[in-house]
């Protein structure tokens, strides 16, 4: 009888097995949503003598338990919040030492002196819903980002990025150390021009 070659193992079902595993992992994979709004809480210890802040430099935002929005004592819709905040921050009504040479606002005397002085105070009720609170935070951050983008593009047109993208690039661990080092002072300059001064007051118990 002729020499018989060893029978080949049938590997046809290998693909099926691999597919099964593949589908299992496809279904169980959850891409984690790890992005959000970064905030810094105020430290606990009370300041010995709080700095005196002029009323016109504070932009008060109050949300009540029915998720209604009161900005500077006026009931407004949330879609107007961003433009109002931009107008307030960019007002630059100060004179002399407090003048703001890069502001493009209306220079209204009743509104903020300088972006450096302007403070947004956000006050919420315990019954305010979290999603509305986040929507408001989002709009306020958007106002800062809008102004920062404008100044970043004006000062550093050759970077080819706006502030938000540049910040993203700086935070990205894949960016080389050199590139990050180059971006850092530029980002800081713009951050200094429009510092994010967003105070979250303790919640009101009533109303």
């Amino acid at each position: 009888m002729a020499k018989r070659s060893a029978p080949e193992v049938n590997a046809g079902s290998m693909a099926d097995i691999a597919f099964l595993l593949l589908i299992f992992f496809l279904v169980t994979t959850t891409i984690e949503t790890d992005s959000g709004l970064n905030r810094k809480l105020p430290p606990m210890e009370d300041q010995v003598d709080p700095p005196i802040i002029r009323e016109k430099n504070i932009f008060t935002v109050v949300v009540n338990k029915n998720d209604q929005l009161l900005v500077e004592e006026e009931l407004i819709d949330i879609k107007d919040l961003r433009s109002l905040a931009v107008a307030f921050l960019d007002n630059g009504g100060g004179v002399g030492d407090e003048a703001c040479d890069y502001c493009q606002g209306e220079r209204d005397e009743a509104s903020s002196d300088n972006p450096d002085k302007a403070i947004i105070s956000l006050k919420n009720n315990r019954e305010t819903s979290y999603k509305v609170y986040i929507a408001i935070q989002n709009e306020l951050v958007a106002a800062y980002n809008e102004l920062r983008n404008r100044e970043f593009l004006r000062l550093y047109p050759n970077v080819g990025l706006n502030f938000v993208d540049a910040q993203k690039k700086y935070d990205d661990p894949r960016t080389s150390a050199n590139a990050a080092e180059e971006l850092k002072p530029k980002l800081n300059v713009v951050k200094q021009m429009y510092p994010q001064k967003l105070s979250e007051a303790e919640p009101s118990k009533t109303n």
Binding site: S35, G36, R39, L41, K79, V164, D171
Partner: protein, 160 residues
Amino acid sequence: MSKFKKKKGGDLPAISTASLPDIVFMLLFFFMVATVMRDSTLMVANRLPAADQVQKLDKKDRVMYIYAGKPSDRYQDKYGTSAKIQLNDKFATVSEVGAFILAERAAKRQELQNVLTTALKVDSDTKMGLVQDIKQELRKVSALKINYTTRLGDYTQNIN
């Protein structure tokens, strides 16, 4: 007797599928490597609110997670439907948050202990009262860097 024999039959040769398992395995390994298994099972509803001015939380080892929301369906008989905090794998009260943060912080490497961020994964239907209580606890243990974890989307999705 011709040297060049004509091939028998005109049917197409079968396409070899021998490399199919290789391709599928390649995909399989990709997903196995890319999958991040949740380290704690969620016991609360966790539909995050939407925001578009977000920043990424890149380095996973510098983040501590606090979940809050209504207990999931299967825990509602036992724990009710009011919003609760979840730390690691169990429900917790507000007063336990501080101890949790301190324990988490102590478990991290020394050089990271000052740069930790607390990610608040709070369900969109929670009331601010609970969030405020958590924030207050975080201030007490001076864990001041927080991140309201959101999903990417327009803010108008938050308003009914």
